[in-house]
């Protein structure tokens, strides 16, 4: 691939000698940028970000700005390959930024690793492999609260209030739950650190429309508790309906920005991304 001999498994597919499960799925922390710019204040802002995966990878984002205000929902939509997830991962320190900055509550966090950003108050729910399948629902939540040294019982109760089904299935391995319930576990796990901003990467991918509506309702409830939410969504129309702020990305750059309603009403956005 990259010519790195350590990354060459010489065609080994024998799982008796190497364990393919649960291994690093290629999430590489590569924070950092050289140039800084200034834009308006927002709770979390990925400001004029330009960059790509790896030190030498081609740029995927081009001067892209994503911001979310306190207690609001911001949604990133766009066609396939537009860099939606990439833009969100960039705000979480998983992309090599060559330009631009990421600020959380006015503080520059561009050079922090993803783990440090979690400590700063960011929660991230990956699109896939976002739960510990072999552990029970309750253990998943406990692991979410791993960095907390105080008593997290009340937070767990809050999560159970938000997702009552999880309380029912607390002793069941999370891998045995349905798609929608797994997503609830994933969001619940991220909420256990009491984040100030929650990043959701396609939370409704692969769930039925009914479950999707319910998940969106829950996400609105989370936002009402004062947590800012930045979300990438394939279901652009439904997502924009609940969004305070919407970002339409095309080829890694901001194409349209506005409130969810405004974007839904924009004839051009509707024609190109929402199917008329």
């Amino acid at each position: 691939m990259s010519g790195n001999p350590y990354q060459d498994d010489h065609g080994n597919k024998d799982a008796t000698i190497t364990n393919p499960d649960g291994a690093s799925g290629g999430m590489v922390a590569s924070p950092g940028s050289d140039a800084k710019k200034h834009t308006a204040e927002a709770y979390l802002i990925g400001d004029s970000m330009t960059g790509g995966y790896g030190k030498t990878g081609p740029d995927i984002l081009h001067d892209c700005t994503i911001a979310v205000n306190k207690g609001e929902i911001a949604v990133i939509v766009g066609p396939n390959g537009a860099g939606k997830s990439t833009a969100m991962k960039a705000t979480f320190g998983m992309l090599n930024l060559r330009q631009g900055a990421v600020r959380l509550d006015g503080e520059d966090i561009t050079d922090l690793s993803p783990q440090d950003r979690v400590i700063k108050g960011m929660g991230f729910v990956p699109q896939t492999q976002n739960i510990f399948t072999s552990m029970t629902v309750e253990e998943n939540l406990e692991m979410g609260a791993f960095i907390r040294t105080d008593d997290f019982r009340d937070t767990m109760d809050q999560v159970f209030d938000l997702f009552p089904i999880l309380k029912e299935k607390r002793r069941q391995p999370a891998g045995e739950l349905s798609g929608g319930q797994r997503q609830q576990v994933a969001v619940g796990r991220a909420l256990m650190t009491r984040p100030k901003v929650l990043l959701l990467d396609e939370p409704t991918a692969g769930v039925s429309p009914i479950v999707m509506d319910e998940l969106f309702d829950r996400i609105i409830e989370v936002a009402r508790t004062g947590i800012s939410i930045l979300m990438v969504e394939q279901n652009a129309r439904q997502a924009l309906e609940i969004a305070d702020q919407g970002y339409v990305l095309v080829q890694g750059a901001n194409a349209h920005t506005g409130t969810g309603k405004a974007l839904l009403g924009d004839a051009e956005v509707r024609k190109s991304f929402l199917g008329g």
Binding site: Y6, N12, I17, S24, P114, T133, S134, M135, I147
Partner: protein, 336 residues
């Protein structure tokens, strides 16, 4: 026809030795399965890690014996065990720091770590032989039997005796304690749960703030303890010889794979499956059959399916059958 004598003979020559051997394999396989789960490769150096830990136990036991310290009826090796575990922990942590850490930093594919562990295996192998020599060493002392065959015969008046060696009793008791402690640790403590989380999903564990280097360090510590305990129990029961420990790799890996790699419960079940198969297939059944069959049908030969020289073939055959028909092992381990 004499069922009682047949059962006693069976227990004496098959059940008791197989339970003891199975416990030793289970503790060994637990170490292998933990490394596979957390560090994601099959540690070929495990047999020689056991040999190293046991070697330190043997040396410290001799030292204690020369000082006249003993545990009475129990083997002195029990006193020396903590020193063996400590030395073994230093060895594996040192190896991790000097060797494996470099490859983790490179995010090397696990198959490269497998080959690396083979190199480590050869080095540990040589170190052990260099220090204690390649010969067989005996270090068991204390009471040899809980109950001897003759005492049993006198007690019950049966023709067959049932001998219970103290090392066999010790092995089973230790195995139960070790397994209970390990499962309590993995399922009830925060650190144990973080190890399971890391094994399940490394990226998510990182996002949850679990420190991978700490998880790896604790894994090595537990593996060092398990390896030393397994090696010492095996050495007490049979004898200590570095090459035998290297050979133990096959039944230990077979146990871990039969049970399902990455599953601690599977490692235990696998250990007993392998042990019972090895012992029953290489046992000369004539004695038991003589009691069970009418005189006219008594076997003239030994009724031994395979000579004991072929015991490794048994593990290997079971390994092949499991891989062909139930690749995930008995306990839903990782698909192989």
């Amino acid at each position: 026809m004499d069922f009682l004598n047949a059962i006693v003979a069976l227990s004496n020559f098959v059940l008791v030795p197989a339970i003891a051997y199975g416990s030793q394999l289970a503790i060994g396989a637990l170490g292998v399965t933990l490394i596979y789960g957390i560090l994601r490769f099959s540690n070929f150096a495990h047999g020689d890690t056991m040999a190293f830990g046991t070697m330190v136990v043997v040396l410290v036991t001799w030292l204690f014996q020369s000082w006249g310290i003993s545990l009475g009826p129990l083997p002195t090796a029990l006193l020396a065990l903590p020193f063996g575990i400590a030395a073994c922990a230093l060895l594996v942590l040192g190896t991790d720091r000097a060797v494996y850490k470099f490859y983790r930093a490179q995010k090397a594919k696990p198959v490269i770590l497998v080959i690396v562990s083979m190199g480590v295996m050869f080095i540990m192998n040589s170190v052990v032989r260099f220090i204690i020599g390649p010969d067989e060493q005996r270090f068991a002392d204390g009471e040899r039997f809980i109950i001897t065959a003759r005492e049993f015969k006198q007690m019950t008046g049966l023709r067959e005796g049932l001998a219970l060696k103290s090392t066999q009793g010790l092995t089973v008791i230790t195995a139960v304690i070790v397994v209970a402690l390990l499962f309590w640790f993995l399922n009830r403590t925060r650190t144990g749960k973080s190890m399971r989380a890391y094994s399940d999903n490394e990226d998510l564990a990182l996002l949850s703030g679990i420190n991978p280097e700490r998880v790896v360090m604790i894994t090595w510590l537990i593996v060092a303890a398990l390896a030393t305990i397994a090696g010492t129990l095996y050495g007490l029961d049979k004898s200590f010889k570095p090459f035998t420990y290297f050979q133990l790799l096959l039944p230990i890996f077979a146990s871990a794979i039969v049970g399902g790699l990455g599953s601690p419960l599977g490692a235990i079940a696998g250990g007993f499956v392998i042990a019972f198969s090895e012992v029953t297939i290489t046992y000369a059944w004539k004695k038991v059959l003589v009691y069970l069959m009418p005189e006219s049908l008594e076997p003239s030969g030994l009724v031994q399916l395979l000579s004991t020289d072929y015991k490794f073939a048994v593990s290997f055959a079971i390994l092949l059958v499991v891989l062909l028909f139930k690749p995930t092992g008995l306990f839903k381990g990782k698909s192989v």
